[in-house]
């Protein structure tokens, strides 16, 4: 067992002295990842009840998700809710990404006094308890008849996605050498052209990541949707939450599995993009 005497740190700690830390860490990582995955086998169970491991396998919950139009208990039109979620998430990208990117660019170039005031205000959607934002929006939207509308949902979701876009693009711009833009301007480019031709190509991967994260944020959002969505425009997570609160429907396992696949896929894309951007340096 000679590997136990290997040095594992700068201060010459041997592996056997650290073994507890290794074991502990791997257990925690296991517990972080695996519990969510339990929904995958569940979703292929034939049983109405949540048994694990399932005794019989079937695709009936996927069928239920994809093909059961208007199940009795009201909120259960899964496909329509999914479609709403996709529409809202895509539109959220187109609101949150430009608004957040513009603000990040403005903040990076503003004097520090202004950005010190604005920055906390701009990340306030992450700091104010989301339930408060939700009921505030609910009341606000009632006045403008936006409750239950796609537009209202997009505004609400953009609000929570914008700080993420802001932070991602802001830190990309912080790492970027603004002198490049100055050089371009001294050489004859207008400010806008310098941004478009010099800055934008270099931060585009961050902007793409930010927009994917905006999509995920919107897609996963529950609480604002709970208050603001309604009628025909329920989102998928809202429908799932309402279903979960009342009963345990295995269809949710099928939807969860699909959601896991989507978010893991997007995460992988974001990581790949991140690697690409890092390699350039």
């Amino acid at each position: 067992m000679s590997f136990l005497n290997k040095n594992v740190s700068e201060t010459q700690i041997r592996l056997k002295d650290r073994l507890w830390l290794y074991i502990f860490s791997y257990i925690i990582l296991f517990l972080l990842i695996v519990p969510s995955l339990v929904v995958i086998p569940m979703s292929f169970s034939a049983s109405q009840y949540l048994e694990f491991p399932p005794r019989e396998w079937s695709l009936r919950w996927y069928e239920n998700y994809f093909f059961a139009w208007k199940v009795e208990n009201g909120f259960n039109d899964w496909m329509q809710a999914t479609w709403t979620s996709v529409k809202v998430a895509v539109l959220t990208i187109f609101v949150a990404t430009p608004v957040g990117t513009m603000a990040a660019y403005g903040l990076v170039n503003s004097n520090s006094r202004l950005s010190k005031i604005l920055f906390p205000i701009f990340i306030s959607p992450m700091m104010v308890p989301i339930i408060l934002v939700a009921i505030g929006l609910f009341y606000f939207f009632v006045q403008f008849k936006l409750v239950g509308s796609i537009f209202g949902l997009v505004l609400g979701h953009s609000l929570v996605a914008m700080p993420l876009v802001l932070i991602i693009v802001f830190s990309a711009l912080k790492n970027y050498d603004m002198n490049q833009e100055k050089v371009a301007r001294s050489l004859g480019a207008t400010r806008f052209r310098a941004f478009r031709e010099i800055t934008l190509p270099q931060i585009k991967f961050s902007i793409i990541s930010a927009s994917l994260i905006a999509f995920l944020t919107s897609f996963d959002e529950i609480i604002i949707s709970l208050f603001v969505a309604g009628g025909d425009n329920s989102t998928i997570t809202r429908s799932m939450f309402l279903a979960l609160r009342d009963q345990i429907d295995p269809t949710i396992a099928a939807i969860s599995t699909i959601l896991i696949v989507i978010s893991s896929g997007l995460l992988i894309i974001i990581q790949l993009i991140g690697n690409k951007e890092n390699k350039k340096d």
């Binding site: 050498d177 002198n179 490049q180 100055k182 050089v183 371009a184 301007r185 001294s186 050489l187 004859g188 480019a189 207008t190 400010r191 052209r193 010099i198 190509p201 270099q202 350039k280």
Partner: protein, 357 residues
């Protein structure tokens, strides 16, 4: 007026940040085709002045004219300047060729003409054949050259450089100083060069403007600035020097009670500082006329290759004032060097003896 360059006329440029002046009533005439260096310690305002010329910093008031044209209100992209930044600021998503060709692209120059001018610029900076390289494949010195090529490709009449050599190692930096100087002589564009390195300024410039605390301290040729500094700040900042307090009473100068003779008489009585350049002071075996002498104890002797630096603590001075003497490394004198601890006599020719306030 020269076709390839323009004179720059700066008047009363002032920039105030809260309570402190980055630039205070700066007026300066830069001749057409001149290599002008703005020299000063960090935070002196030299870079701010360059940024005012480029249009990136708005002064509170003042005027900047390129030739006869007032440019102070113009945005940077309409000023027609070439600029090299401290960290080069090359565009990493473009090849060398694309970087150098960018100003031409902005000017709508034809593809053929762009290609020709890019090649010419790359030749000028001795980078021929590297056009297809990516920026990340270049060494520090090569990047510097690309930045330069990009700034001169459209033959601007004014070239601004902000400490362009500070990121290079010493040897390369010294080579580039000479090259930049030669390049300037070939292209003959008006060049404004910012640096904090006094040796670099002395090497390259036609004239030097010394700036401190946002104010012009002295303007002159490298020789004038070195030999006749206006005040103790410049005497201390440019070259090496030991500054010894002297007092002048009734036109007679004394250092700690001992009389000394100056090259030029001071205008007024008062307290001054005697500037002793180490290379001008010498070890005196015997006293002859036409020089001032100080005696002291040798406390350190440092071999520096081309010379030996001696640190002497003056006898007559209670505070332990030190004078540095540089002895050139010649085989003859090498033997005669005194030992540490010995008492030595230092001479300074009257012609080299001057005081600053």
């Amino acid at each position: 007026m020269n076709e390839t360059s323009l004179n720059i006329s700066i008047r009363e440029v002032t920039k105030k940040y809260d309570q402190f002046y980055a630039l205070k009533d700066v007026s300066l005439e830069i001749k057409s085709g001149e290599f002008m260096t703005l020299l000063g310690p960090s935070g002196s305002g030299k870079t701010t002045l360059l940024m005012v010329l480029a249009g990136f910093t708005n002064p509170d008031y003042g005027s900047v004219k390129f030739g006869d044209e007032e440019v102070i209100l113009k945005p940077p992209h309409l000023r027609g300047i070439g600029m090299v930044f401290q960290n080069y600021a090359l565009f990493p998503h473009m090849t060398v060729e694309q970087n150098v060709g960018y100003p031409q692209k902005l000017r709508g120059v034809s593809a053929a003409e762009t290609k020709r001018s890019v090649e010419e610029a790359l030749n000028t900076v001795k980078l021929e054949g590297l056009g297809h390289r990516g920026i990340n494949e270049l060494s520090g010195g090569q990047r510097q050259r690309v930045a330069l090529a990009r700034a001169i490709v459209f033959k601007p009449k004014i070239l601004l450089m902000d400490e362009p050599l500070s990121a290079l190692d010493k040897k390369l930096r010294e080579e580039m100083q000479i090259e930049l100087r030669q390049l300037h002589d070939t292209l003959n564009m008006t060049t404004v060069y910012v640096t904090h390195d006094q040796k670099e300024a002395l090497t390259m410039s036609d004239r030097i403007t010394v700036i401190n605390h946002g104010e012009l301290m002295q303007l002159g040729t490298p020789n004038e600035i070195y030999e006749h500094p206006n005040n103790h700040f410049i005497a201390d900042f440019i070259g090496e020097s030991s500054l010894l307090p002297v007092s002048i009473r009734d036109g007679k100068t004394s250092l700690n009670g001992e009389k000394i003779v100056l090259a030029e008489k001071a205008e007024k009585d008062g307290d001054y500082l005697l500037v002793v350049r180490p290379e001008k002071a010498f070890l005196a075996d015997k006293k002859v006329k036409g020089a001032n002498y100080f005696s002291g104890k040798l406390i350190d002797s440092i071999f520096q290759g081309e010379s030996q630096l001696l640190v002497v603590k003056l006898n007559s001075n209670d505070d332990g004032q030190e004078v540095r003497v540089r002895v050139p490394n010649e085989s003859v004198t090498q033997k005669a060097l005194p030992e540490v601890g010995q008492t030595v006599s230092i001479g300074l020719k009257v012609a080299d003896s001057y005081v600053v306030s």
